[in-house]
Amino acid sequence: MSEVRENGGMGDGTDTPSVTETTSALVLERPLHWHWLIAFGVSGALVLFLVYAGGVLFLIGVGVWGINIPVVWAFDIINYVWWIGIANAASLLAASLVLLRRQWRATINRLAEAVALFAALCAAILPILHLGRPWLFYWVFPYPNTMDIWPQFRSALTWDFFGILAHLLVVFLFWYVGLLPDLATLRDRAKSTFARTAFGLAALGWRGSSRQWQAFRATYALMAALVVALLVFMQSIVALEFAVTLVPVWHGTILPPHFVAGAVVSGVGAILVVALPLRTALGIEALITRDHLDVMGRILLGAALVVVYAEAMMILTAWTSGDGDALRALDNRLFGPYGWAYWTAAAGIGVVTQALWFAPVRRSPPAIFAVALAAAAGMWFDRFSLLVGPIHRDFLVSSSAMYQPTVWELALLLGTLGIFFTLLLLFIRLLPVVSMYELRKLAEGRRLS
């Protein structure tokens, strides 16, 4: 990238002490600002709304939702797929940047990993909630029990359980390992005993010895490779939940690649939507520069084009299949009662993202924020169209019904957004949002490895 300067694209005045000071000051010294408090209040309220909705769900049952025969999966799985897509793609981006040794990754990486972890937590809640008896979710795990039964290992839903389990733990470990040196810095800069103890416990006694750094670099790169493999695989498992069924639009081999590309669109979109207000609010424009936005914009555009291609292939496959069910389902998805969702998604993913061809759009924070928001929201509508469109008209003409979300399902979307932003707000107050040791290394004029 010729535009990204060798020092990681950082602005001037970022020598070693000031990078450490700036970033650790965000955690250790910045007083509570009313912006943060209001944001935290709003997202906290949404979390409480979700808890309430969850309580209603547990007490009364899944009937409080709008799903029924034939639309058996709607908001629960739409939001699950959307969140897990964000989570997968954000860690995929972070891990790829580590492996490619891109100098400019230093500022975006930590944030991307955090977005990934929090989105994964939001996603993990939903499959539990959508069970008929959620308190029995642990039956999916093969533990010896008195009922002499085991989970069905040939089911994509069981695969998904193992996938989510692996995903949460691996992404958490990847994030935590990357944090260790910075936790040590915060421990050493902390003024209050409580902060020093807390960061000290978390830092595990990291001293920055040569042996530790060597082990650290080897492990971090290895975990990045594992994350890349796991997440491409994981997102494919999510797609397989649909592809192994007989539902016409779902039953196709294009679905796993489509989901992976779609995940990158929503993931990069989400990272941009989070990073842009953050850089202004925290005053770190010199650390997350327009060069970073430029590159992220290109990645977003590339992924959007792949999604458009995958959609085109889905349409072509159905259209040339000669299969009446597939043709009817395609026609219904595009031009039926839920066609508005499809075309909204097409606008957000296919049309608005074309603005990213132009450098002034990519480099302008408000413009790229709008495009990223449109892309991420477009992916949500794509999931809606994919979930509800094909199943609301079933093989049998009599099995046809409209779907409308109830307020308890809206709580799933709003509540998980609340969880995500609550965790993010806590993250920016308690942990360093940019990777201090990587920036230090760049400021020393050395290459990142």
């Binding site: 450490t20 085991w150 290992f153 193992f162 692996a166 001293r207 040569s210 750094w213 290895l222 040791y437």
Partner: protein, 178 residues
């Protein structure tokens, strides 16, 4: 327990530390270690050579995770409670692959993390070198070089090393003993 003496030198630049480490390579001390706020591969190569075992440990962890879950699935689906669905073979190995790969990658990651902790000697909340003055800045903007001597090493060796350190113009030299 033998008492150990540590000479800790503080530098304010990475290059100064690298020069010092290279110059003192042949110093007659037990161990030399550097404590830096950034990774310095050029110094690692002679301070702590060859810790490539983490990859191997991760591989073993991955294979163990894969074997565990695959064999579990086979046992449960083929021997303990086989379900005859349309005469399909109980050992439907393609269907067992997703969970196997997921747990293989999880096993590799957990093993890599454990190997990191083991190699790095973590968690260790107190280390003698932390008693050196200003050591808190080792994670920020100062570079420390520590030479460790056994108590039975002659004082002259320690003095000679101190003199050579002084030639390299560090900010401080501290002598710690425990």
């Amino acid at each position: 327990m033998t008492a150990r003496i540590q000479l800790v030198a503080e530098f304010d630049e990475a290059d100064a530390l690298a020069r010092a480490a290279r110059a003192l390579r042949d110093a007659p001390c037990g161990r030399m270690e550097a404590y830096t706020p950034i990774p310095m591969p050029e110094v690692d190569e002679f301070l702590s050579p060859g810790h490539g075992r983490i990859g191997l440990v991760a591989l073993m962890g991955g294979l163990a995770g894969a074997a565990l879950i695959y064999l579990l699935q086979v046992y449960l689906s083929v021997y303990d409670y086989p379900i005859n669905v349309g005469g399909r073979p109980p050992h439907s190995w393609p269907a067992f692959i997703p969970a196997t790969v997921a747990l293989a990658l999880l096993g590799a990651a957990v093993a890599a993390f454990a190997a990191l902790l083991w190699t790095a000697g973590l968690p260790r909340y107190h280390h003698p070198v932390g008693d050196a003055p200003n050591f808190a800045r080792a994670s920020q903007d100062r570079y420390f070089l520590a030479l460790e001597f056994e108590a039975r090493d002659p004082d002259s060796a320690v003095e000679a090393a101190t003199a050579r350190l002084r030639d390299l113009a560090p900010l401080h030299i501290t002598r710690l003993s425990r």
